[in-house]
Amino acid sequence: MGELRLMKGNEALAEAAVRAGSDGYFGYPITPQSEVIEYLMAEKPFERTGMVVLQAESEVAAINMLYGGGGTGKKVMTSSSSPGISLMQEGLSYMAGAEIPCIVANIVRGGPGLGDIQPAQSDYFQSVKGGGHGDYRLPVLAPASVQEMSDFVPISYDLAFKYRTPVLIVSDGLIGQMMEKVELFDQMPRITDKEINEKYPWATNGKPKGKERRILTSLDLDPHKLEKHNFHLQDKYKQIEANEVRYELIDCDDAEYIIVAYGSSSRISQKAIQLARAEGIKVGILRLITLWPFPKKPIDELVIKGIKGFLAVEMSAGQMVEDVKLTVRERTKVEHFGRYGGVIHSPEEVLEALKTKIIGG
């Protein structure tokens, strides 16, 4: 068993970054995730593993530092919160185009604009439908506990390098600020230059003798060549959709109704289904672990099984619910419930919404 600690979600993310063998963290503080860089600066991983921790002058600078670091085949990550993530969208689009691996963690807060610093899930569209320009997708993982804030870091690096893509970890102020028990995984070694040369023939870490110059760019002025590059990207996204869907079914075996939720909302919904079951209402949860790729198959299977209705619970005005509707295709009822702008819905409100919008509605 690994080391047990009581940690904030943000701290667990930071510690996991070190233990996953990151070569660099570049970030700019913003509530509710400033503990990430605070923890790293206090922990001094540059003394522990040689990992670089740098406070960039802005989010725009931080994401472009990832472009540089990731481009050399190193493991690099950043974290920010909603307004800061918006600033990073140009860089993310460029990295998707140039196929550069990295991790970007978004500890979402209420919006739009500067919004507030309380938890929200209103960056779903930005995370799964683009955010930056161009035809691209990013794998998006949504931790629902402090444990997963730690566990999802090495998983994200694996995805990032397997598919040469930025990976998003999308959490929120609730998971970031709360403390829970976390079992830390053992320190993984940082990758060596030799390993990078062997594993990543694309890495721009100096021109090897007798080999062609390596270029990482998203620019190609020949539309036919750029279309071909886009075909390649789309093939990659199809592979990710086929292989990397992650989800969890909670109490779905005998369920007549399903709550679809992720992150904090899935935790709150677990309390709601306990309250519902105490009243004899058979309801389960489909919890999204990957927001993209979206778990279409399990939803389809639940529809075929005869589920009477789906309630999409998210701290937004209704974003994920659109993907649930696209999957259910009007074969049964789909409704949305959620508080937003930094307000967290209570388990009782979720139960009430289930009763009025799905069961009685």
């Binding site: 047990l4 600690r5 009581l6 509530t31 509710p32 507030d116 610093i117 309380q118 102020g173 609730l174 600020q177 709360m178 403390m179 829970e180 028990k181 904090s264 935790r267 709150i268 919904s269 677990q270 309390k271 709601a272 306990q274 967290i344 209570s346 388990p347 009782e348």
Partner: protein, 180 residues
């Protein structure tokens, strides 16, 4: 066993650290724990509160609207949280600084003179540990030995010399908690 607690008072009373020590104590006896503080603008005006859940099972929602126990350390928190205790639940408060005492008849109400006892012990900083002792007397959800282990884990080593004082404070609180 699942115990859902709200601890609420002024910033600086050690509300958050009391919750942290309780959560760490739960970990020391292999329980699941969560600790969720009010942060940001909610804390303006000097109030602080934290929701702590200690359970034998996987914890669902870390935020709640009803609690098994409320530990209340100022009037603002009394106004806000007296009504959130589940029927049959427990409310523990320090009467020092409370002008409107709790009136509910369907819950068990205890008082602990935390501020007074800590002052008598010569260290007002151990106020929160006296209150924790009072709570643990009423709700012995974690063993004292695990609280001490939890203290060791949550305090920096340079403060470990203060652990006996903290233990005394907990014991003092256990002795002086009173059912109203």
């Amino acid at each position: 066993m699942t115990e859902e607690i709200i601890i609420a008072g002024f910033g600086g009373q050690g509300v958050l650290s009391m919750g942290k020590i309780l959560a760490y104590s739960g970990i020391m006896q292999d329980q699941e724990v969560s600790w969720f503080p009010a942060y940001g603008p909610e804390m303006r005006g000097g109030t602080a509160n934290v929701t702590v859940i200690v359970s034998d099972d996987r914890i669902s929602s870390p935020t709640l609207t009803a609690y098994d126990t409320a530990v209340i350390l100022n009037q603002q928190s009394m106004d806000k949280f007296e009504s959130t205790v589940k029927p049959g639940g427990v409310l523990i408060y320090d009467p020092n600084g409370i002008s409107k005492h709790p009136t509910r008849k369907d819950i068990n109400i205890y008082t602990i003179e935390g501020a007074k006892l800590a002052a008598e012990m010569g260290n007002t900083k151990i106020f929160n540990m006296v209150v924790l002792g009072g709570y643990l007397k009423v709700k012995p959800i974690v063993k004292l030995e695990n609280v001490i282990k939890g203290l060791k884990k949550s305090l920096h080593e340079r403060y470990h010399k203060l652990i006996p004082l903290n233990e005394d404070a907990i014991t003092m609180g256990m002795k002086h908690v009173v059912l109203k």
